[in-house]
Amino acid sequence: MIGAELSLLRREPHLKWGALALLMLVAIAAWNGRMLLESRTADATLALQESRDTIEALAKQAGNGNPTATSPGAAAFGAVSATIVRHIATGESLAIGQTDLEANFQTLTARNPYASFAASAPDNALRLAVGNFDVAFVLVWLVPLLVIAAFFDIVAGERERGVLALAVVAGAAASRYLWTKWLTRTLASIVVTWLPVALAIGVGEPTWTGDTAIALLAWGTVLSAYVFFWAALALACNVGRGNSERHAAVLAAAWLTLVILLPAAINLIVSNVFPAPSRVELAAQLREATESADRAAAKDRDRWFFDHPDLRSGEAERVAYYRSVAASERVITAAITPQLSAFETRAAERRELTRRLQWLSPAATTHDALTVLSHTDGASQAAFRDAALQFHARWQAFFFERIDGERALTHEDYARLPKFESPSTSSLLALQRAATNVIVLFCIGLLLCFYCGVRLVRLDAILPQEEGG
């Protein structure tokens, strides 16, 4: 029976064409993700190289006593910048997640770093609702449609074709016959689902490593759980009353609800409960703090020169100017830190609520697992922002110590510049979190199977065909 069932599946033209369309879309999405990532990586590499070249050149000039290179103020507030680059995790090209909300690199100076963060508002709590055209989106949206196409008439169709009656007369218990059929189709669908995953990783990831194999396994497992859920839902729908057309309509409505409407509703709820912090407001606060700090610094500077008119020109004025700039930056940092902190708190609240609400939609649960596995979820982005802030504090401290102490930069100082390390992407943590989602999907699927089991046992005792005259 299993062989015949597989043969049937192989010959259903709508499944063949559907699978082909899915593979094509997955390949395009994976290529799209890879191009996007390569372009971002190229930009980051260029910026990183530029920073390194500048630092190298200034280091040389500092050795020669060039005043621009030896002045900590000139270096801190203009000449020297640090480019920090986020680590690209395996599988990132497959799930864009939250990564398109902000650049994967930043070029920082000792000035406040917040201007670049102002553009990183968590606009969309759950990216699934509007969807990036990435592999995760394509799979989460389209795999259920293929499963529905393969399962919508698994019981009703057998009845309508008169096959169930013949199978029962042939000696098979209706429930056992249908379970075998369902299990065969489910296992075949799960096996087939690994194809687009392998294709996506093959196209999207330029090199194969151990991590790539783990990503393939993890993605395959998540999607297997997703397929299992939809197959169980299709069976649960089929064991109820009605013909195959009705079941197809019910399953299509379930797809619309679980894949489109509920994720959109989750976005709406999260956005209303925890509105995204306004970027305009953040930029205005930053500007206001900067202007106020600059005014205060200028006032201090004027007072200092009023007291020391003999130092109004030359090196002393330059040193005083940079000290006042450093003072301004400290004031700006102090003024803007609560806003930034509120921004991160709000983002974390949004993530937490999204995480809780995602259980309402298996599509959202699956999408979350895929973005977590690709380290493109909101938490990974926040970790990068946090690491960037910590690095900036060290960078600022390095220069401010020398500005305040009126210590000239030396060739060796350039070698001692703080180095940025992107937060490590722990595959184990990601796997643990994704495993929770997989377990939830399997459990819902098992509950549906239990319900189907009860209904199918009853089917053994009832007429497996419509009664005639």
Partner: protein, 234 residues
């Protein structure tokens, strides 16, 4: 042997079948005639164990269906009014599928032999079933019965919608199976075919078997007259 004793089935207040006594011996073809709703299909469903009788007993080759439906079904083959099967599979694949479901394993040669015995031309064996006419599908149904070596055959209006030639071919097939020792119970609207093919004929109305005839002892005209008389009774 197919046997019913006092077999009754009610749905609430509706009596679908009332006290049916019937016996079809090996080699016999019993044709059940009657209008829609007369209780023909209910009778077949009771023999198949798809529904439980309200009272009485249905048995196939001595096995009471209610007591052991699986064992009873093992003795029987069933051909519904429309044999749909799997349109994407060929005739031989469908036959293989249902034979295996019954626990019978036959090689390709044997399967093709059954199809040929059922009157299906070899050129059609490997074509998808969706390209078959209704008559050809019925022949696949007969081939399934042959492959299972069923000792009892239940047919639900198998010639309905067939052209006269296909209907005649089908009747000859059935007659051949009866000659080989099968007991056949066939529900039909076709008086002519019942008289030509059957060994015994029963006329049902409102769930009651109103009359029984030995086919060889009644001619076509008398059978039609008896049938119309029963249908017109108040």
């Amino acid at each position: 042997m197919i046997e019913a004793k006092g077999l009754s089935k009610s749905y609430g207040n509706v009596q679908a079948l009332h006290e049916l006594d019937l016996e079809v011996r090996a080699g016999g073809i019993y044709c059940l005639l009657g209008a829609n709703g007369a209780g023909k299909t209910t009778t077949l469903n009771l023999f198949l164990g798809f529904i439980q009788p309200t009272s009485g007993m249905a048995a196939i080759s001595g096995v009471v269906v209610r007591d052991d439906p699986v064992a009873a079904r093992r003795q029987v083959a069933y051909i519904p009014e429309t044999v749909m099967l799997y349109g994407m599979l060929s005739g031989v694949e469908n036959l293989d599928y249902f034979a295996k479901l019954s626990g019978c394993r036959h090689d390709q040669r044997a399967l093709r032999g059954f199809l040929q015995r059922a009157g299906l031309a070899p050129a059609a064996h490997d074509r998808p079933l969706k390209t078959y006419s209704k008559g050809m599908r019925q022949k696949v149904g007969v081939a399934i019965a042959l492959a299972r070596n069923a000792r009892a055959l239940l047919l639900d209006e198998p010639t309905s919608g067939l052209d006269p030639k296909a209907s005649n071919e089908f009747s000859e097939l059935i007659a051949g199976m009866a000659r080989d020792g099968a007991a056949i119970l066939m529900a039909t609207h076709d008086l002519f075919r019942a008289r030509e093919t059957g060994t015994h004929i029963g006329i049902m109305r409102d769930g009651v078997l109103r009359a029984e005839f030995v086919a060889s002892e009644i001619d076509h005209v008398s059978l039609e007259n008896e049938y119309l008389k029963i249908m017109k009774e108040d």
